[in-house]
């Protein structure tokens, strides 16, 4: 075991980590921005909106993300011309995350008692106002733990973009290993870099959940 291979290649590995980080952040933001309207469509009373949304969400959730990345990588050039691998990878990850975020947002909205909407109407708010000031703020508060678990999942899932040549943390490690042949040291380090932030976020999520349960009086010590 010789971990100097990590310090020797730290600069390149950190550029890979940086790619992983902004892929994760953009994927989370994009997924939430697109997932919220998709969730509203999915929960809509209109069949014209609800059925396509349902079909889209179930299709995306039903196919492997690896396949989705390959497919979008080959599909995008036919629609919009040449795109860098990064764009194709990001679009695929956002599409993937949109479907999952939509289900989280829908569950969040469903968790808000319908009485809130009725109360809003009784005070003379219009529907957009009800959504903005009453439903979504409460829904997002309820969704926080689920969204944070999703963030952890996205952070780990970004590693599959290596298949189209994007140099994220995992791909950077592979490239370094192709030159140094120290797979045990290199991938142990990479596992740690994935593991530590994920664990911290998971623990923090658990604390938020417990606090909320205490507030609602439903907390039982395990």
């Amino acid at each position: 075991m010789n971990f100097s291979v990590i310090t020797d290649n730290l600069y390149f590995l950190s550029t890979g980590l940086w790619t992983t980080v902004h892929l994760t952040v953009f994927t989370l933001i994009g997924g939430l921005l697109l997932g919220t309207p998709l969730a509203l469509a999915r929960a809509s009373g209109h069949r014209v909106l609800r059925l396509p949304a349902l079909l889209l969400i179930e299709t995306i959730r039903g196919i492997p993300v690896l396949m989705l990345i390959f497919w979008i990588y080959f599909l995008l050039p036919h629609l919009v011309g040449a795109v860098p691998a990064y764009t194709a990878g990001l679009v695929a990850l956002i599409v993937f995350n949109t479907a999952y975020s939509a289900e989280i947002v829908r569950a969040g909205i469903n968790s808000i008692d319908h009485g809130n909407v009725e109360a809003g109407r009784a005070t003379g708010l219009n529907l957009v106002q009800i959504l903005r000031h009453i439903v979504l703020p409460q829904a997002f508060a309820n969704m926080t733990p689920a969204l944070m678990s999703q963030a952890v999942m996205v952070y780990k899932t970004t590693s599959v973009v290596f298949v189209i040549g994007i140099v994220d943390l995992f791909r950077a490690a592979t490239i370094v290993n192709n030159r140094e042949f120290k797979p045990i040291e290199i991938f142990a380090f990479v596992a740690l870099v994935y593991f530590i932030p994920c664990t911290i976020v998971s623990r923090y999520t658990r604390r938020i959940e417990i606090k909320r349960m205490i507030r609602h009086g439903t907390f039982q010590k395990a």
Partner: protein, 280 residues
């Protein structure tokens, strides 16, 4: 809740439409090439040569400890850019992504340890070789495998998307192929006895053999392994320019120097040069 969402529906549809319309703006102009226009002109006009290269294939193309692109092919790509008087931009490609990236217009040429095949020729065009490697076998010492004929019924590891699998089968149809993502994985499998041999260009294998006493390179290469540049179909002007640049690099000693620098030792073959052909 239902009537609530019914009324909100049109706003939702509008928002989805807006985001969908915004997505195409993420595309690049790398493929902005009119019909009949040569990549040669596009590159000169742009002032940058965009080359698809390997960043995971020492000594041809890889990333050093400072995070910089280095290698035989990287230096040769710089040489080509210098001949054009333009800057060089390198885009990482793999065995699987290099051809789609060329066809889609992400890159102007492929310089990525690529062999010409009839199959690939249906999609892209090639120059003559700028380098000749050879496909060989790497085995454990005392394995009893002394030539490609000996791997009949044995497990041979190769990498997905490369041409090595076909090379093995052409010389020993009874070999059992095992595919890996990367060469180090095949190497690990070989050392753990999960495969009996691995096969790719002798340069890569020699490096593995040098680093590990228990491994040995089998004989001379069983199949020549020409490295060619890849260009798009119907672009003779660009292809012939690259062809001439390859010959220049052979006649002015560049290839020999790069071989000594990156592979070590003296190059033991010649690629014929006929520069007069292009000056007529």
């Amino acid at each position: 809740m239902n009537t609530f969402f019914k009324k909100y529906a049109s706003a939702t549809a509008l928002a989805l439409g807006l985001v969908a319309a915004a997505l195409p703006s993420l595309s690049t102009d790398a493929a902005a090439q009119g019909p009949g226009e040569s990549t040669l002109d596009v590159v000169k006009e742009r002032g940058t040569l965009i080359a698809g290269a390997r960043n995971d294939f020492p000594p041809a193309g890889y990333i050093d400890r400072n995070g910089e692109w280095v290698g035989f092919e990287i230096d040769f790509a710089k040489y080509i850019a210098d001949k054009l008087g333009v800057k060089l931009e390198l885009i990482p490609v793999t065995s699987r992504t290099r051809i789609p990236m060329l066809v889609n217009g992400n890159v102007d040429m492929i310089i990525a340890v690529m062999n010409p095949t009839v199959e690939r020729g249906k999609v892209i065009d090639f120059t003559d070789p700028y380098f000749l490697g050879g496909q060989a076998l790497l085995v454990e010492k005392g394995s009893g495998i002394n030539s490609i004929a000996d791997v009949g019924g044995k497990k041979v590891g190769t990498v997905q998307g490369s041409n090595d699998a076909k090379g093995v089968l052409a010389f020993q149809p009874d070999a059992e192929l095992v595919y890996f993502q990367e060469y180090p994985q095949a190497l690990l499998a070989l050392k753990q006895g999960r495969i009996d041999a691995m096969s790719t260009t002798d340069l890569t294998l020699r490096k593995f053999a040098d680093a590990d006493d228990s491994l040995v390179l089998v004989g001379p290469p069983f199949k020549p392994d020409p490295w060619v540049l890849g260009v798009r179909h119907d672009d003779s002007e660009w292809r012939l320019f690259l062809q001439k640049t390859i010959m220049d690099a052979w006649s002015d000693g560049t290839i020999r120097d790069l071989y000594a620098k990156h592979m070590g030792g003296t190059i033991n073959f010649e690629i014929p040069v006929w520069p007069e052909y292009y000056s007529k």
